[in-house]
């Protein structure tokens, strides 16, 4: 390979894919950095199957070829910070799944003497709050809400973002103009204020909060997908698909979308992180679902006792930070594994 000394920067190539400053920032914020060394022999690229393609493999082709799944997985797993993120997330997911078994009682019920500090009573390793509720039980049950809202909001946001972005990027012209304007409008409106308005109008419940978060996070996905589609639809294989008489739907979903997905997957992990942050901020402000315990609401109620019992606010916050950090670490690792192109071009 050539020029290993030129230190690659992710933001640079993101620009060529997604020409906007914002996408550039996303890529930078995601931390597109070191490129994994491209393999010297094409055996590493299990997806290059067609005889023609195999014959034309050069260093350049290998460098720019889409990454094979197994290879990406290897790169991801050899990244210590990404693996650390995966482990943290596994613990959180495990806690969320095991919550009904570990703490079968309602976490909103009184469990012991109020305001015991962490470590004071072995029955409550993280202490109890002003109403005598077990902080650890709240933490474990809160993980369910955070992950549920984060995942469902991201799923809905991805769906909407991909549909809008793909339509705009694929068809171009007036359709693109209108949809781009729509995306721009939603990105101009301060997202968190819109989120508050939506939740206040819709009345807080877990599904409503998830949908409201999706409503403020889809524009970023749409923007990225649109840029990807605009770049990919010019490629030869799309022209070939068109020449074969495939319909728009098939070209969009079967031909272009799979190739546009890697950066979207990276964005998705960061979107889950952002969604969790938004949910926690909402419930901290008292706009969360009042019937479930969540990390944000625990911090919100602990806030009144900040002077005397600051652990009540500190402990759930650490849970949020660790979960969000793990998702961001995973996003970073995915970015390095899936988008080596981002840094390949100098």
């Amino acid at each position: 390979m050539h020029g290993t000394d030129t230190f690659p920067t992710g933001a640079l190539a993101a620009k060529s894919l997604a020409a906007d400053a914002e996408d550039r920032a996303t890529a930078a914020a995601l931390g597109a950095e070191r490129v994994p060394a491209p393999p010297s022999e094409p055996d590493f690229w299990p997806n290059v199957h067609a005889p023609d393609a195999a014959r034309t493999v050069t260093a350049d082709v290998a460098r720019l070829a889409p990454v094979g799944r197994r290879h990406a997985l290897l790169v991801f797993l050899s990244n210590p910070t990404a693996v650390a993120g995966l482990l943290i997330l596994a613990v959180v997911v495990g806690a969320a799944l095991a919550a009904p078994i570990l703490f079968p009682d309602d976490p909103l019920e009184m469990a012991g003497r109020p305001l015991q500090w962490p470590g004071q009573n072995p029955r409550f390793p993280l202490g109890t709050d002003a109403l005598g509720r077990d902080v650890l039980a709240g933490l474990v049950h809160g993980a369910r809400v955070s992950l549920l809202v984060g995942a469902s909001a991201t799923l809905a946001g991805l769906l909407a973002g991909i549909l809008v972005g793909a339509t705009a990027g694929y068809f171009g012209g007036v359709v693109d103009d209108v949809l781009s304007k729509l995306i721009e409008i939603f990105q101009t409106v301060p997202g968190f204020i819109l989120l508050i308005v939506l939740v206040a109008i819709a009345q807080p419940s877990v599904p409503a909060i998830a949908l409201a978060i999706a409503a403020v996070s889809w524009p970023q996905v749409a923007r990225l997908v649109r840029a990807q589609f605009r770049a990919i639809k010019e490629k030869d294989f799309v022209a070939a698909a068109r020449a074969l008489g495939f319909g728009h739907g098939r070209i969009i979903f079967r031909e272009i979308l799979p190739n546009a997905l890697p950066p979207v997957i990276v964005l998705a992990s960061v979107t889950v992180a952002t969604a969790i942050l938004m949910e926690s901020a909402l419930s901290f402000m008292g706009l969360g679902d009042p019937n479930v315990v969540s990390w944000g609401s625990m911090i919100g109620t602990g806030r009144d006792l900040l002077r005397t019992a600051w652990y009540l606010s500190a402990v759930p916050g650490v849970a949020i930070v660790l979960t969000v950090l793990s998702l961001n670490l995973i996003g970073d690792g995915l970015n390095e594994a899936l988008n080596p192109r981002l840094g390949g071009e100098g």
């Binding site: 933001a11 910070t81 729509l182 990105q187 409106v189 606010s313 949020i320």
Partner: protein
């Protein structure tokens, strides 16, 4: 030079106006439909206050407020109200919404400004450090630190800063905007306000510190490989001078562009941070409006903050056309 600048700026102005006008119209329509979605209209509220209302009086009230007109005509009425800078009256404060917002806006803007300064200074420093250690363990560690900053909720770090600096150390106040009853003037008043502003601005800035650190790092590494930097090095400048005058300076252009784009995010972040520190700004007003179900105030804030973002971005666009002749006017 200036003679050639003027047409360029005029072109930029035209382009910006062409882009901004549809955006503004879209924002207005979005606001109108959100307003219509809010539970209970003005007639319901008045009828509720009266205690009892027949179907006829309710209908009369509705026609008085124009609520029985077709949607499009209502939209027209809404727009004409806006054209007269009327955002409605808040029943809670018994004050026009526009006045309420105008009273709080300067506080929020000063908080956002200070947060942006913190974010840029700390972020660029961190990013420059990361770039100079690129690929080495120090860079790796700082990257994770930046990612940690990126993952911390602003309201939580705000509370923790209060615990440390206000409760434990007693250095800074826990909240509010100024010492009540101190009647300070001149320099003392400025210092007093600054003391109240440090912690909220820092909490708000942390997230953006991470973004700017990474952006600066990547941009610096990109710029470093360019020819003019090699030339500067070849002419014998010290590594520090090369970094400061040739690498950092060029790497900063995209960073400053981003600062404009982050305005909307900062505004949203300010809402949460202000409730933590009881900072009397727009965010605090929004919070009170939510608690009192005062939708006119809430939508007024949403509308004005959106328009502010449009205006600032347009200003940045024009400023850049002024500063950098290479930026093509499309």
């Amino acid at each position: 030079m200036t003679t050639r600048r003027l047409p360029r700026i005029l072109k930029a102005l035209r382009r910006t106006a062409l882009q901004a006008v549809p955006t503004v119209i879209g924002i207005l329509i979005l606001n109108f439909f959100l307003l219509r979605l809010t539970p209970g209209d003005a007639a319901d509220a008045l009828a509720g206050e009266a205690g009892a209302a027949t179907v006829e009086t309710l209908a009369a009230l509705k026609s008085k407020f124009g609520l029985d007109l077709p949607v499009l005509e209502q939209l027209g009425g809404y727009l004409s109200n806006l054209a007269h800078f009327s955002l409605g009256v808040s029943p809670r404060y018994n004050q026009p919404v526009a006045e309420l917002i105008a009273a709080r806006l300067p506080n929020t803007l000063s908080l956002m400004g200070l947060a942006l300064v913190f974010a840029l200074v700390i972020g660029i420093t961190l990013g420059a450090l990361m770039a100079s250690f690129a690929g080495r363990p120090a860079d790796r560690v700082l990257s994770v630190v930046a990612l940690l900053f990126y993952s911390i909720p602003s309201f939580w770090i705000g509370l923790m800063l209060i615990v440390l600096f206000s409760v434990k150390l007693g250095w800074l106040p826990t909240g509010g905007a100024e010492t009540i009853g101190a009647n300070l003037t001149g320099w003392d008043a400025v210092l007093d306000r600054a003391r109240y502003q440090i912690l909220p601005a820092l909490s708000l800035a942390l997230f953006y510190v991470a973004i700017y650190a990474r952006l600066t790092r990547d941009d610096m590494i990109e710029v470093r490989t360019q020819d003019h930097v090699r030339t500067a090095r070849a002419k014998g400048l010290s590594p520090f001078a090369v970094t400061r005058d040739h690498v950092l300076r060029n790497a900063l252009i995209p960073v400053t562009t981003m600062a404009g784009i982050h305005l909307a995010g900062l505004m949203g972040g300010a809402v949460v941070v202000e409730t933590v520190f009881s900072w009397p700004g727009l965010g605090r007003l929004a919070y009170e409006a939510v608690m009192g179900r005062d939708f006119h105030v809430l939508l007024g804030i949403l509308l004005l903050s959106s328009l502010l973002v449009v205006a600032v971005n347009a200003a940045i666009d024009i400023l850049q056309a002024w500063l950098d002749p290479r930026i093509e006017v499309r």
